[in-house]
């Protein structure tokens, strides 16, 4: 079992970041890895249990199910259902917290998954850097924020 944890600080109020992140179908608007996305069966993207089907820039198709969504905790979790990349039993959790000192946002993104033997490091790095850190950087660009440091 591989575990990935990445976190960052955004120079924006937590409500503004949550407004972007809580849309389970909105990642194609800001994440550079996602080319297009749709929710299956025309369900609303905040319906727990809905499935997003999306394509990466290289054309590969993935499906993920929304497992948890909480406006009270500003958190959601989801799992991978179908993927050409061998991330097995992949479950991820996103949560935001206010940084009251400066009215900023703490963003925590973590997941656990299995991989084929010997590919742990490669896939951990791909998830941590390309998906999570890449997502942090992309949100900053999307929201017009300066670097967190």
């Amino acid at each position: 079992m591989v575990k990935v944890i990445k976190s960052t600080v955004l120079n924006a109020p937590v409500e503004a970041v949550w407004a972007v992140l809580r849309d389970f179908n909105g990642h194609d608007q800001w994440h550079p890895a996602v080319a297009d996305s749709m929710i299956e069966r025309s369900q609303p993207s905040d319906k727990v249990g809905c499935v997003r089907k999306f394509h990466l820039a290289d054309g590969s198709e993935l499906r993920e199910m929304l497992l948890t969504l909480s406006d009270a905790d500003m958190a959601f979790s989801y799992c991978l259902m179908e993927t050409p990349v061998p991330l097995l039993n992949y479950v991820a959790h996103v949560r935001l917290a206010p940084v009251t000192d400066g009215d900023r946002t703490f963003w925590h993104w973590e997941s656990r998954f299995d991989t084929p033997l010997g590919r742990e490091t490669e896939l951990r790095t791909m998830v941590a850097e390309n998906i999570y850190q890449g997502g942090f950087d992309a949100i900053r660009a999307h929201m017009g924020l300066e670097g967190a440091r």
């Binding site: 960052t8 600080v9 000192d101 400066g102 703490f106 925590h108 967190a148």
Partner: protein
């Protein structure tokens, strides 16, 4: 039930900040409002259940019991046993979480307590600013560089 929530970013790895704050008897070494502190009955300060008896710079005396301590999750939970403040059932938690982006620390300090409605706002802002934010400001200064 009144609630206080204060959070901050400290520009140092969370393991370093935790070394400083995990000692339940170390408030005088990092918090500017605390003058001196001791653990009752000569117990170790990381023994869950131990009691710290400390004085503020203004002379006020407070006794608090350690309810929970985790080196794995980096949090410390404690309750007030005795204080001059007009409140009851006060439980607070100080928690650190790593910020991987920049190897910094997300620090959260929360408290819940009961009190008369007319004093709640003053207590919440006083504890939030003078205790929690003042503590984080001191850590930010001490951990810099």
């Amino acid at each position: 039930m009144a609630r206080v929530y204060i959070s901050s970013i400290i520009d140092a790895p969370s393991t370093r900040v935790w070394e400083k704050v995990r000692d339940f008897n170390a408030l005088p070494r990092w918090h500017p409002r605390i003058r001196e502190s001791r653990i009752e009955n000569g117990e170790p300060s990381d023994k869950v259940g131990c009691i710290r008896d400390f004085h503020l710079q203004n002379g006020d005396r407070i006794r608090e019991r350690l309810l929970g301590l985790s080196d794995y999750d980096m949090f410390c939970t404690y309750a007030i046993l005795e204080s001059p403040m007009p409140l009851t059932d006060y439980i607070a938690t100080l928690r650190l979480t790593p910020v991987t982006d920049g190897d910094r620390t997300f620090a959260e300090w929360t408290a819940e307590f009961d009190c008369a409605p007319e004093v709640a706002a003053d207590l919440v802002s006083g504890i939030g600013l003078n205790v929690f934010q003042a503590g984080f400001d001191a850590l930010k200064r001490q951990m810099a560089g």
